[in-house]
């Protein structure tokens, strides 16, 4: 099976604010505390658009931005990564990559508002809500922000959304022989949908994948679908609660393996009683 280099990572969740800050926590070198997500995320969006967009779009774009800015900075470990406007980097010309976006439920805040409106007598659905209701809204905003016309695919596989996204991104990187940015995200649903679909906290992760096994990488991945075993669990109760409580956080065993800088195998919960196996090497 072909390999993939992970060039850079974007990450945001309670207590996991950016890859560089989170790496020691995921490696078990620092304690995990579920601190709130900072408000200043997705600063690449122009102020007007940033005000209009939803928490879902901002979360997805934040990790996409972090991954792309990190790689543009050539792993200089700059503190600016993730908070600098994208326009500062656009002239460097490599912000434009193919993207795969994976999310179980998309923007349920928008869908909730529409469904509430539809119970009202005049059913005046807001045009803005409606055009934000499609699953590929974050992909659309990302393309506009980066001016990138390369293809993008938005998918869902319920609890297996991260694993499906990773396979789609890998297959795309190999067939196109090009870098692919995978973005996985899910947020808690608003009441009353929250009673029927429990997502415990927001979580978004982006992996910039390169089909060339470049030396400028955080890790090397080899996917081995089809070998049955059980999914890896996390030792830390708080992180394990995130893993089982958010489809995008099903990626955590992989992120922890990368953070530990050790070679080993990882088994991710791929949803509907399936497992995605992979080898990870630094």
């Amino acid at each position: 099976m072909n390999a993939l280099a992970i060039e850079s990572i974007g990450l945001i969740a309670p207590g996991l604010s950016g890859w560089e800050n989170s790496r020691p926590v995921l490696a078990g070198e620092q304690p995990y505390h579920a601190a709130p997500i900072p408000a200043t995320i997705a600063m690449l969006l122009p102020a007007n658009e940033r005000r209009r967009t939803t928490a879902t779009v901002k979360l997805a774009l934040q990790v996409a931005q972090e991954a792309m800015v990190s790689t543009t900075l050539n792993n200089k470990r700059s503190n600016r990564a993730g908070t600098t406007p994208l326009s500062s980097f656009s002239e460097e010309g490599n912000m434009c990559v193919r993207t795969v976006l994976a999310s179980s439920g998309g923007d349920s805040e928008v869908l909730d508002k529409i469904c509430v409106t539809l119970t009202e007598p005049d059913r005046m659905v807001s045009p803005t809500q409606f055009h934000h209701s499609v699953h590929n809204t974050p992909a659309g905003y990302w393309a506009i922000a980066t001016g990138c016309t390369l293809p993008s695919l938005s998918l869902s596989a319920y609890d297996g959304s991260f694993a499906a996204g990773l396979q789609e991104a890998a297959a795309l990187a190999w067939t196109e022989e090009a870098r692919v940015l995978l973005v996985a995200y899910d947020l808690p649903l608003p009441f009353p949908l929250s009673e029927r679909r429990m997502i415990v906290a927001p979580f978004a992760v982006a992996l910039l994948l390169n089909p060339m096994t470049t030396t400028q990488r955080l890790a090397l991945l080899r996917l081995k679908p089809g070998e049955i075993q059980s999914a890896d669990r996390l030792n830390h109760a708080g992180l394990e609660q995130l893993r089982t409580g958010n489809p995008a956080a099903r990626s955590l065993p992989l992120l922890c393996a990368i953070a530990q800088l050790k070679a080993g195998s990882v088994a991710l919960d791929a949803g509907h009683e399936t497992i995605l196996n992979m080898e990870v090497t630094p």
Binding site: M124, S126, S133, T149, A157, Q167, W174, P192, R196, G226
Partner: protein, 398 residues
């Protein structure tokens, strides 16, 4: 080198024209539209729709009862037409249950179930009724999940949801997963059903026509929403198999606006060019283009510019939205099946309901059905968020 071709070894479609491919073929041949004035639930909107008859009368029961909603009823109905489910299960027995991927496009999935549940909230607590099952109805994956369970498949399964390009992009996704060795064959498809969200949503955007839709007409003033489900079984083509083939696909992003197409059709043209490049075909080798052709003034104008740029004005093209309405996330698979019917039966469909082609548009629009043995045809599907996908299909060269 052109891509390794995929063979379409089984397919089916259900839409406002009826259940199964024979209903669509007959209506396409006879110029009978499936559109009717909006009579969906209690939606009192002055528009026309492409509704599939009697979906509401056939609930999912037994071990599939959790999936019961309009969208999944439509999916199940379609799976059982034309022997599709039986053929797919035979393929499962040949390849192995975990070696056939499932790639299903949808835009709104079973959100209709959530609309109903919100209407029936507990007045005191605001809670949704106990009977509401989010996972198996509203969630975007539910029709893909139903499909894999209905067919007994256990391999990779995912829902592509990129608005109105969803079930065109499933072909590209399946090709990639098969090329990567993640699966050896694929069930691709699309399912989208009528719901208040899209009816009132398109109405709010001023994009729903009060008449039957008239693609490319100078008097066109919007789209009609339809519903459909369609499926295809994809296997690597073998020489001499005589099957219809996926010859190429192209995908792009507009990077322009969330709902408005790029006025110059730049992204659409990119998708068409890439499909041609992957198939190693010149524009002149394409015999027919099934347009996205929603009949909104701006969408048709943008697509026209894109077609002119890539093909010029001589390639015959038409929109079949006048038969089915715009079936959103199911448009890609619906129009792919129409292309296969046309290539198999030697005709090019016209553009139903269109009377006076817009003189400001230049593509080679076909108004009435033509008897013509086409070999290669393209299907265009574009969506909100600036997502574009073009597919190229052809018969095996003899």
């Amino acid at each position: 080198m052109a891509i390794k071709p995929l063979a379409i070894t089984a397919y089916t479609v259900t839409n406002a024209l009826g259940r199964g491919i024979a209903a669509s073929l007959t209506a396409l041949r006879n110029g009978q539209s499936g559109l009717r004035p909006c009579d969906f639930e209690d939606a009192g909107l002055p528009t026309w729709i492409g509704r599939v008859a009697d979906v509401e009368d056939e609930p999912l029961t037994g071990k599939f009862a959790a999936f019961d909603c309009r969208n999944n009823r439509l999916a199940r109905l379609a799976l059982e037409q034309d022997g599709f489910a039986a053929t797919a299960r035979q393929a499962r027995d040949r390849y192995g249950a975990d070696r056939i991927g499932v790639f299903i496009g949808t835009s709104t999935s079973g959100i209709g179930a959530t609309e109903h549940a919100y209407r029936d909230r507990d007045p005191a607590t605001g809670s949704l009724p106990e009977t509401f099952d989010y996972r198996h109805t509203h969630n975007l994956f539910s029709a893909a999940d139903l499909t894999r369970r209905w067919l007994g498949l256990t391999g990779i399964a995912l829902a592509v949801s990129t608005a109105c390009s969803s079930s065109a992009k499933v072909f590209a996704s399946a090709f990639r997963h098969m090329s990567a060795g993640f699966c050896d064959a694929a069930v691709v498809g699309g399912v989208d059903s009528l719901c208040l969200t899209t009816l009132y949503g398109f109405n709010a955007l001023g994009l729903a026509s009060t008449q039957v839709c008239r693609p490319w007409d100078s008097a066109r003033d919007g789209l009609n929403i339809g519903e459909a489900a369609g499926f295809a079984l994809l296997e690597w083509a073998k020489p001499g198999d005589g099957r219809m083939r996926l010859l190429g696909y192209g995908e792009s992003s507009d990077a322009y606006h969330m709902t408005a197409a790029h006025p110059e059709g730049t992204g659409a043209a990119l998708a068409m060019e890439q499909a041609l490049a992957r198939a190693e075909l010149r524009p002149a080798q394409v015999d027919y283009i099934n347009l996205h052709g929603t009949a909104t003034p701006l969408n048709d104008a943008a697509e026209d510019k894109a077609v002119l740029r890539v093909f010029g004005s001589n390639t015959p093209c038409s929109s079949t939205k006048g038969w089915t309405g715009h079936t959103l996330g199911a448009a890609g698979i619906t129009e792919a099946t129409f292309i296969w019917l046309c290539l198999e039966h030697g005709f090019i469909p016209g553009t139903l309901n269109t009377r006076q082609p817009d003189p400001s548009l230049g593509a080679g629009i076909v108004l009435r059905n033509q008897e013509r043995a086409a070999q290669v045809a393209m299907s265009n599907s574009f969506g909100f968020g600036g997502t574009n996908c073009s597919l190229l299909f052809g018969r095996e060269e003899t």
